[in-house]
């Protein structure tokens, strides 16, 4: 692990990548994207970022 790795930033990057993949999959009609699914997904993504950020600061 790089010495200066920021886990919260890394988690944020991964969440953003997953959102981008979902958008592409929806555009390709592979995985549907609806408000009903998007809202909890965004909440979960933000939660993961905040959780990692909080856990990192506790260390």
């Amino acid at each position: 692990m790089p010495e200066r790795l920021n886990p919260a930033t890394l988690a944020g990057g991964i969440v953003v990548i997953l959102l981008g993949v979902w958008i592409l999959l929806n555009d390709a009609d592979v995985l549907g994207l609806s408000f009903e699914a998007l809202a909890p997904a965004l909440a979960a993504g933000a939660g993961v970022i905040l959780l990692v950020s909080g856990l990192t600061r506790r260390e």
């Binding site: 790089p2 200066r4 790795l5 920021n6 886990p7 919260a8 930033t9 890394l10 944020g12 990057g13 991964i14 969440v15 953003v16 990548i17 997953l18 959102l19 981008g20 993949v21 979902w22 958008i23 592409l24 929806n26 555009d27 390709a28 994207l33 609806s34 408000f35 009903e36 998007l38 965004l42 993504g45 933000a46 970022i49 950020s53």
Partner: protein, 425 residues
């Protein structure tokens, strides 16, 4: 991290620091902010009412979208209260990650704007694309070791160096951080009388040891590798989009947006290895959420923005599809002389209000969809919510049938005839 703010007197001569300006330091305050503190910071700096500044930002946002860019630039360039440097700091090593992410996002937006001609309502997407690519290239150039002048924050502590290649100043400086580049001035910095140390952990230390980079070769190698990988990703995406454009393939803006989000995510993940601040995730996450939400609503941004009214009277004047990205779209077919048979008309609006008026004495079949919003067909009750579908048919025994396929991503959709008494919302 120990930092002293102290004047420097390398040659035994004492220079008088410049007189501080009367204006307070331009920074994003932690209190009193509505979002990221840009407007509050500008208002505080110029002693203005924050509400006035916010209104100005809102106005220029609606006048072509420049306000959004200005706000993002302010977020990146104005340091937060208590921070010495803005997120986007040139030269230093600590914020290389943020710089890298910003460069990646700017170049990706520019490439997509040029090759895909997304209508960002900037009235000249190619020009904006070129500007974004040039700015992004500037940062990549600096990241790759170029010697372009460093970006500096506004109103920082006097004399705080933002680039390691700048000559040492003879007055107030920030002690080099151990994580910064090794080329920083080696002169020891003594705390001046009356200047309180920032970090009490080193309050008793009068001399700060010179900064050293434990492995500059490794750092440069890692930097080159990252730039190479991201450059390859950008070139691949740009080439793919350009090839699709040349081949005439219809690449949706959603696909382009998804690719942009992925590139941003890769840049952020890569930037995390360089210590990029988690704050850089916020704009990317919001942009991704916005694109995803617009896609969930089925918003199609092609077609421009504004108010469009169409009033065809003959089939020759009739378009197969009426499209608008955002605004008010009104298609008045009341005076249209339909030929026998079925005539199909499609109306698509990304964001706003769509009104279709149909002629009397013909059969009408309507299929309407709203990603999020309200649908009113003739005098029927409104249907609203998310993913709303509605249909209606009347007078289908007529030899002349008008089929309407209407779609609104986010907003109101209404189809009216001469008997409709309810006015469009």
């Amino acid at each position: 991290m120990a930092r002293h703010v102290a004047p420097r007197d390398p040659g035994g001569m004492t220079d008088t620091p410049p007189t501080p300006t009367a204006l307070p330091r331009l920074e994003r305050p932690r209190d009193g902010r509505m979002a990221l503190g840009v407007c509050a910071g500008v208002a505080k700096h110029f002693n203005l009412d924050p509400t006035l500044v916010r209104v100005v930002f809102a106005v220029v946002t609606f006048l072509g979208g420049v306000g959004v860019l200005a706000y993002v630039a302010g977020f990146l360039l104005i340091p937060e209260e208590g921070e010495e440097q803005p997120i986007l700091r040139g030269g230093g090593g600590r914020h290389k990650g943020g710089q890298l992410v910003t460069a990646t996002i700017l170049i990706a937006i520019g490439a997509i704007a040029i090759f895909h001609r997304i209508d960002f309502s900037f009235h000249g997407d190619v020009g904006w694309g070129v500007v974004l690519i040039v700015v992004g290239g500037y940062f990549l150039f600096r990241l790759g070791g170029g010697d372009a002048p460093a970006f500096s924050g506004f109103g920082r502590t006097a004399g705080a160096t933002s680039a390691p290649d700048l000559p040492p100043t003879t007055w107030g400086a920030v002690a080099p951080d151990a994580s910064d580049d090794a080329s920083r001035d080696d002169t020891t910095i003594a705390a001046a009388p009356g200047v309180a140390p920032v970090d009490d952990a080193t309050a008793e230390t009068e001399v700060v040891p010179p900064a050293t980079d434990p492995d500059p070769a490794r750092r440069r190698s890692s930097r080159r590798a990252t730039v190479t990988v991201l450059g390859g990703v950008l070139i691949a995406i740009g080439a793919a989009v350009a090839a699709a454009s040349i081949a005439g393939a219809d690449v949706s803006w959603q696909a382009a947006g998804g690719a942009l989000v992925i590139v941003a995510g890769v840049g952020i993940a890569a930037g995390s290895a360089f210590g990029a601040s988690p704050a850089i995730v916020v704009p990317a996450f919001l942009a991704a959420a916005l694109i995803a939400a617009s896609q969930a609503a089925g918003i199609e941004l092609k077609g421009g923005a504004g108010e469009r009214s169409y009033h065809p009277t003959t089939v020759a004047d009739l378009r197969g599809e009426y499209r608008l990205g955002a605004g008010d779209l009104r298609v008045d077919l009341r005076d249209l002389r339909l030929p026998p048979g079925v005539t199909r008309v499609k109306a698509t609006l990304g964001l706003g209000e769509l009104v279709v008026r149909v002629p009397d004495g013909v059969g009408v079949r309507v299929d309407a969809h709203a990603g999020a919003g309200n649908i009113r067909l003739f005098d029927r009750d409104d249907q609203n919510g998310f993913d709303v579908d509605a249909s209606d048919a009347r007078g289908l025994t007529s030899p002349r049938i008008l089929e309407i396929d209407a779609d609104v991503g986010l907003g109101d959709l209404s189809v009216r005839d001469s008997t409709s008494t309810l006015e469009p919302r």
